[in-house]
Symmetry: C2
Subunit: 123 residues, 2 copies
Amino acid sequence: MTDDDQAILDANAVLYAAFNARDVEAMEALWATSAPVSCVHPGWNVIFGRVEVMDSWRAILTNPDQPRIVAGGAELRRYGDCAVVICRELVAGNPLASTNVLVREDGRWKLVHHQSGPVLRLS
Amino acid sequence: MTDDDQAILDANAVLYAAFNARDVEAMEALWATSAPVSCVHPGWNVIFGRVEVMDSWRAILTNPDQPRIVAGGAELRRYGDCAVVICRELVAGNPLASTNVLVREDGRWKLVHHQSGPVLRLS
């Protein structure tokens, strides 16, 4: 694994660390500011636009009833300056899978798209 | 929109046309053969590998009880030789959203990843 691949996986891990730390600022810093962003939370609608996506994360991270997330099994696909990470997630015992798309922006890997949805089981 | 952007959206549309036509060959031709592929069908497990992904599509396309799919609202994000298309889907009245990742392989746009999952509503 190259340093750059590790940088992508590190950025991907920030998503889940920020989630569990309820760290809105870290979440905002993770998402791209120039490239268009979008997000599909499980059971929500599709969300387009940085303001709208950040509003959704703020709602989740400031919700006192929001369970923690356990993420693992990250599979990295690298396509030049675009990367796709496929992850397993566990939220309150519910297995989910997510597709995270990252691009290089000003030399750093930033999230441009996240879709999470229910799966039958983790493995 | 460039011709190349149109080619990506055309490839994306093949996914849904093949689905409704129950055309396993067209589905097989759409997916990449060199790049690793993966798929998350709603409520299934995460599937990795071309053989496994194709087995899943064969099961869906040959299932006589499988409802048709209506897809629309494709939003294209292009990152060099990688593209992400975010779609709305409707299956038996159930609204879904999907993330489709395509890469250029031998000059043609091919699917490398598809995740579909339930959303609250289409808009």
